[in-house]
């Protein structure tokens, strides 16, 4: 008796659990969310993160990057690694990029996330070259000072020994 009763309860609980698991899955899978940098990217690399309430069940999470919001042509795809939610992308030239995430659900259905817009605008070349040359001048001064002073010392030491 007891066994039967327990078995009956178990079925109910399992069913309820299934409902609990299934309901939010179907409701939230479409809420695959992508977030990225909020400001203009100055270095050409950025990290975006994918989130979804049922992230563990998703397969083949891929980030798509395109230069137009329709993802019509020249869309580049970047697979995420293992079950990491973040992906670090690099080597982008100046321009506006549209980025979204795609994933396969347990039922082989394809989910796509919101599209985010990322603007890449590298430091102006004049600014970086200015800093480069300022650095170069200080560096040359330093090396020249060091080598000259060292040579002077070596010479004076030799003279003393002579």
């Amino acid at each position: 008796m007891t066994t039967q009763k327990n078995g009956f309860n178990y079925c109910y609980i399992l069913f309820a659990l299934c409902l609990l698991v299934m309901l939010p899955t179907t409701a939230h899978a479409s809420s695959l969310k992508l977030s990225g940098p909020n400001s203009v990217v100055k270095e050409g690399y950025f990290t975006v993160s994918v989130s979804a309430p049922n992230f563990d069940e998703l397969n083949r999470v891929t980030i798509e990057v395109a230069s137009n919001s329709e993802f019509a042509k020249s869309t580049r795809q970047f697979p995420t690694l293992g079950d990491f939610q973040d992906i670090s992308l690099t080597g982008f030239s100046n321009g506006t990029y549209y980025v979204r995430a795609r994933a396969e659900g347990p039922d082989n259905q394809i989910y796509t996330s919101n599209t985010i817009e990322i603007t890449v605008e590298h430091y102006p070349l004049w600014q970086s070259l200015t800093l480069f040359f300022v650095g170069l001048v200080i560096f040359i001064t330093l090396v020249a000072t060091l080598l000259l002073l060292h040579r002077q010392w070596i010479h004076s030491r030799q003279e003393r020994h002579d």
Binding site: T47, H122, L147
Partner: protein, 477 residues
């Protein structure tokens, strides 16, 4: 479930085997230590082979194995070439090491020099900079250890970090400088062989041509010789590296522990041996896009690619290489910092009459103490890997000019040197917050250089070099 490249048990086995070996080796080497000079400076008699290897291995830190690929992944070709310019620090320190060895035949630390050359005020500023930097480096190494072991083998951060610290403190405690230098030699060999193997494997299997053509079509920015951000950071990074080497007791105590005519050629050779390493480790990152590997965070790119390409073997090699890189820097830093505390603070300020035995005992407790403090600071796992060290750029770059001029020029006085370091650091920090991290070391070096120039032009005093030879003075008294 995250799949790790390596089983946790394999990770633990490697660590335990290496740990037992290093500590036993340290103990064996430590038997020869008779005096504090033996313990702290390996008897001032280190030969060329060990000297060159230790200069190279200590400069190969977790940064070379992690940040060089990271910078390459972010800044492309300039990332790795720019990073390899850090070898300039070792190369330029070579003539200085010769001068240091001659000026301070009985000296112990960089703090010793600053105190004798510039007086107490400059010494105080210098010690603050040294301690901030040493702790920044120690913490970043300890944390890098924990984070890496965790990401490669799933070993808990706290266990990994604690184990690495215990091993390094262990053999440094037993063997002193001798253990540090001898382990550095073996670690240098392990690091070089490991990264060469991984790089060769990638070239053989992926091919340089296909990497180049993939990057040209998909990520051309990475091959750009005029990558703005990379060009902009270049000299800032160089000054950071120069500041680290010129001021830090890690490099001074090495120069002082080498045989008389070895210091110059050892640093030069060490620098030249180090030069190609960031290019080889960085190159690994350039293969990532071709292999379809895009890491969760850029600092994981090196280990991720190696583990993905070589599988378990790759993961084991990476694990051992990074473990060796961490240990070779951590031990040096522990030894050098405790020398600094023992010699400059305990011996010179608190107990001038301390016996040799007391000094040795204090030095040992200091290594242990530093290990414990580092461990406590690493526990919360707060900052990201590079954040602490970025900050330190403003500090160390301010010491470049005062150290160079202090070694060679009689006219720079203590007050100007102290001002140069203090204002250099202050302006460096200011620019860090106002402009960005890419100018911190540059501004710091420029401001401190300017103050030194004014100091030399205005000063009428001439320093007497004999004032540096403290032992003669105390004997005369």
């Amino acid at each position: 479930m995250t799949e790790f490249a390596l089983d946790t048990s394999t990770g633990i086995t490697i660590i335990v085997l290496f740990g037992v070996f290093w500590v036993a080796f340290g103990y064996w080497l430590g038997r020869k230590n008779r005096s504090h000079e033996d313990f702290a400076l390996a008897g001032r008699n280190v030969g060329f082979a060990f000297a060159a290897a230790t200069a190279m291995a200590t400069w190969v830190t977790s940064n070379t194995t992690l940040v060089a690929p990271q910078l390459t992944y972010q800044f492309g070709i300039w990332g790795m070439v720019g990073y390899s310019f850090a070898a300039l620090g070792l190369v330029l320190f070579a003539p200085m090491a010769k001068r240091i060895k001659e000026l301070l035949p009985n000296g112990y630390t960089s703090g010793d020099f600053v105190r004798l050359r510039y007086g107490n005020l400059a010494w105080l500023v210098f010690i603050i900079i040294s301690v901030v930097y040493a702790f920044g480096w120690l913490i970043s190494l300890g944390m890098a250890g924990g984070i890496l072991l965790e990401s490669l083998s799933g070993l808990d951060y706290h266990i990994g970090m604690t184990t690495i610290l215990i091993i390094c403190v262990g053999y440094t405690l037993f063997g002193g400088m001798r253990a540090v230098i001898a382990t550095d030699f073996i670690q240098a060999l392990i690091i070089i062989v490991g990264i060469s193997f991984i790089a060769y494997w990638i070239i053989d299997n992926v091919g340089l041509q296909s990497i180049h053509s993939n990057l040209t079509s998909e990520h051309p920015q990475l091959l750009d010789m005029l990558f703005p951000a990379a060009v902009m950071f270049l000299f800032n990074n160089i000054f950071f590296g120069l500041g680290e080497i010129f001021h830090s007791n890690v490099w001074w105590s090495r120069a002082l522990s080498f045989k008389k005519n070895v210091a110059y050629k050892a640093y030069l050779t060490g620098g030249l041996l180090w030069l190609p390493i960031p290019i080889v480790t960085g190159f690994i990152a350039l293969a990532a896009p071709q292999l379809g590997i895009f890491p969760p965070s850029p600092d994981m790119i090196g280990p991720t690619v190696a583990a993905a390409v070589l599988g378990k073997v790759g993961a084991i090699i990476v694990f051992i290489v990074i473990f060796s890189a961490l240990a070779s820097s951590l031990d040096s830093l522990l030894a050098a910092t405790s020398d600094l505390v023992t010699q400059d603070i305990f011996h010179k300020k608190l107990k001038p009459k301390a016996s040799d035995k007391t000094l040795m005992r204090f030095n040992r407790s200091c290594i242990l103490g530093l290990g414990i403090v580092t461990w406590l600071l690493c526990l919360p796992r707060v900052a990201t890997l590079g954040a602490l060290l970025n900050f330190a750029g403003a500090f160390v770059a301010s010491t470049i000019w005062p150290i160079v001029l202090g070694l060679y020029h009689r006219r720079l006085t203590g007050t100007y040197a102290a001002c140069a370091m203090a204002f250099g650091t202050a302006f460096g920090m200011l620019s860090y917050f106002v402009v960005g991290f890419y100018v911190a070391a540059l501004v710091s070096c420029a401001v401190s250089g300017l103050i030194c120039l004014i100091g030399i032009l205005r000063s009428r005093e001439e320093f007497d070099w004999d004032g540096l030879n403290e032992k003669e003075q105390s004997n005369a008294n």
